[in-house]
Symmetry: D2
Subunit: 312 residues, 4 copies
């Protein structure tokens, strides 16, 4: 079934092109997120995909150099940055179990005394950002510096319009933050935390940027300059959390179809990791009812089928 008997890097380009052709012929792309204007305006027919090898070489197809709104994808990087500093004490403040509920549910938060189930639901990401902000004094700046460095793209930045829009529509995240604060699980003032959080969500980056920025997870924790961000064990752990919790209430389905650690955002992007081998990023703004890119997940599904590159 696999068209690549050897997994040599040169073979990625034809695989990506074949996938892009198949996606092109596929009707039905879902709908862009509509809660803020900047996302709602996206054309659901846009599609880009990139693969980055361990040495940073990137292959791409379609709109792979087009910046888009990363949204929840940045939760992976914030988690890695805080885990690198704080280590296991983080897990006293956020769990690492799948939520089994829509991604911004308050229910389990209440039953579990203000400790979010995992770092990738909104509540959990707020906690991680809060802790990174306490440790660095500028969580969003820390994230941006990391993304610029790993992607090799110093032009990466926050999208002020998106950040302002998120803030204007951020009542539910404000509720989550206040609620966790009522349990003593938030250190910073809620308005400060929300500002940090919404700026992180607003980072604009391309498939090429994100595939490159993710390679430290395929390199077992080693950054692009050869320094270590995470221990081998921590890198494995972040991958594990991506696999079990990275795609909202569809993590089981994603693992079943794609079989790779992955993280999606409502901007239509998805990153994925083949440990020890490569990383991927795909973008298409149309979402399914669980908030994941329709064409993006389909493309990753095809990639693992065509290459046989799955963790299972």
């Amino acid at each position: 079934m696999a068209i690549m008997t050897t997994t040599s890097s040169l073979a990625f380009q034809p695989v990506l092109e074949r996938i892009a052709e198949e996606i092109e012929r596929t009707p039905g792309r879902g709908r862009p997120a509509d809660y803020i204007p900047a996302l709602a305006a996206c054309d659901p027919r846009r599609f880009g995909m990139a693969v980055a090898e361990l040495d940073g070489t990137v292959y791409g197809v379609g709109d792979w150099r087009q910046p888009f709104s990363t949204q929840s994808i940045t939760k992976v990087f914030t988690l890695a940055l805080d885990l690198a500093r704080e280590g296991d004490s983080l897990w006293e403040h956020v769990g690492r179990e799948p939520s089994g509920n829509p991604f911004n549910s308050l229910v389990q938060l209440e039953y579990e005394s203000g400790i979010p189930r995992n770092p990738f639901i909104n509540a959990g990401a707020l906690v991680v950002t809060d802790r990174l902000h306490t440790r660095t004094g500028d969580a969003a700046g820390e994230l941006l510096a990391f993304l610029r460095s790993e992607s090799g793209n110093p032009a990466l930045g926050f999208d002020q319009e998106v950040a302002a829009s998120e803030s204007a529509h951020g009542a539910r995240n404000a509720a989550l933050a206040h609620f966790m604060a009522s349990y003593g699980n938030i250190d910073n003032p809620v308005p400060v935390l929300l500002d940090q959080y919404f700026r992180q969500c607003s980072v604009a980056a391309s498939c090429a940027d994100l595939a490159r920025a993710t390679t430290f997870l395929a390199r077992h924790g080693i950054r692009s300059d050869g320094s270590r961000l995470l221990s081998r064990s921590q890198a494995k752990q972040v991958n594990a959390i991506m696999l079990t919790c990275g795609t909202y209430d569809a993590a089981g389905d994603f693992a079943y179809r794609v079989g790779l650690p992955g993280k999606s955002g409502v901007g239509g992007g998805v990153i994925a990791v083949v440990p020890g081998r490569c990383t991927l990023c795909v973008w298409s703004p149309g979402l399914d009812e669980r908030g994941n890119s329709v064409a993006g997940v389909a493309a990753l599904d095809r990639f693992t089928t065509l290459t046989g590159l799955s963790v299972f």
Copy 2:
């Protein structure tokens, strides 16, 4: 960190022995399940572990040849047997998402109209058994034949005392079955289904037996006699479900610590799969508060750390 620079098979035996020594020195083993007498009587200091290579060679340590009550571990085999016959239509009757709730909760079943979240919570396993029984006329017999054949141990059998105990304490499973029947998601009469289900849970087998019987999942669907039970894609899918749903409400933690597809049972056993490489089974009857073997999970954690064999 890994003591095996090559992953040659000969190296498994010293790894197992080192793990057994470490476990032996570790205090605290949890408590055996106490809802039926046969399980409550188990000594929590018992410990066995086996590794089976793709060709069926088995290495072991401690009580690795001692039969124990497999309990929920058999849910993996029943799932594979039904999936092999039925294919994707199974997924109209059971989901494949982590439950995010204790393993026999009725709550999500109600919110999701009688469709259990995945095949490894009790409700989901009842549905799979029901469907296999409809297709074969003898779900438990089919399971037993498969386990005997794959393990190479024709002496495997049901433990009548355990099955009778399960039945006597089975009010909650009866409730689940009647409840799903009220949604039209059960075909067979509830008493018939429960009898089939409790017999499956009662199978007694050793670590050696189960490690061997699981190798079809490491061989991408190929049985011990070279015939194919599952397609490569289906084998990947079963592994994915084990990783995301195999250890009750601790699947995230298990993925984080062990990083392998695994399935536990309240008898204290845990099976795990290193796709393309080997399978493992560990047994120690003392459980943590989420129903997983304390020493079993610790041993698998050590195994992946020492060998570097993780999917991440």
Copy 3:
């Protein structure tokens, strides 16, 4: 606003006639319950209403002498019969708080360890029937004898077809009973209990019968023959539970609109009590989405508005 400046009994007949005329002109009656054929076949335009004074004198209008399926209305009588025998120890096995959830939810049962919230949700009624059956050896027979005696209608009986239908569609009640049994909150074998329960639900009676049979609650516990069934305090308590829990998830709305203790059934009947003054029974088979008779509740609303007879 009230048309009765004195609440003399003679004035009830014109009130009933005025209400019947208004109801006749009102379009929209909801839909009959459709889970069993005997109920689905009812004409939603049927309407009957009766008022019984403390001395048993009954006034009526429309189909007030037409027997219908009492369904959950009998839960009031079973509660009174068990409370009379058992006293306050009943409350260790069933609560007396509104459920805040649809009437056959399993959710709260799980959170509250098998103790149903109140005697009028299905789970609670199963517990009360179970306990009455343990005390009398024939809960359904006890209920029927009481209804015949209080209504003065010895022809009252079970509807065997309805009871058989209920049993055939009783999977959810079976689930509830098994679930509570798993917590040790059911004494009798589940099949025995279900048979008793479904027979109670099947009693056929008219508005006249039920208005008369309910008068012991308006007479503060005194039966029609002058003997005491309940203490004054117990009668007050049963009325309180009817007000807070008698109309499924619409108890607040019923209290708000009608302002009387009441109990509805999915057969379209509703009984209500004006303590110290009279009782009412209304019947119209069309239900709203919460299971209460549309015309029945409207008629009671009009009655309290026209007469000023409300507890508030």
Copy 4:
């Protein structure tokens, strides 16, 4: 059982004195609320009780003239003031069903799209305050003016220390308000609303003040100066909501034991209404685990038993 064969007003004083004596001899008073210092400092042995007749005559015993923190009791008055202005459109923004859950739960709010179950849970009271504030420009001021006028006590005021304390510990109410705002169910800026809300909770008043201020509900909507605040039907409705929802998750138990519309506050006060007859207010700061005054509920229970004055 009743010691008052006639319910003449002169008989209230000996009833109150008998109750105070009985309460005095009763050990166990629960514990004061401890989430803000001003409440935690209260002596749980304090006890006061007052009865106000329809003409404003007040009888009292114990600490009946001692001001205490009214807390949630003021929710009744805010509801009446908004209902008087807005009428039934209020019910599109807040329900009138018992919550069946602890008093500040977020769960049902999520399941019911930001519409709180009733006006007496915190979420519902926030909505009512928000709406009254929109209509008057000063919800708290409106409330205070009403309480001063009806109680005849122009010295009533806000307790600034309590209001500040509430605000400092108000993270959970902030979460509720932001959460409802995310559903579009809050008009005013959340900080403005919270300030209004916490000031209302901080009103200090005595049993005498509150019993008098509540008499409009016993007079079917007529204020002390003879003007009408609520229609007869609206007054009945407020009483109905008090009965079904007025005492947190213990409304069923309160109806069962006391049998009167009532509203409690975590300051240890409880008001109750005998429609057409009188009103009561009792205060004792020790609370049970559901947030209701232990001695307060016991005293009301005794009052209805001794006088026979219950709505049932």
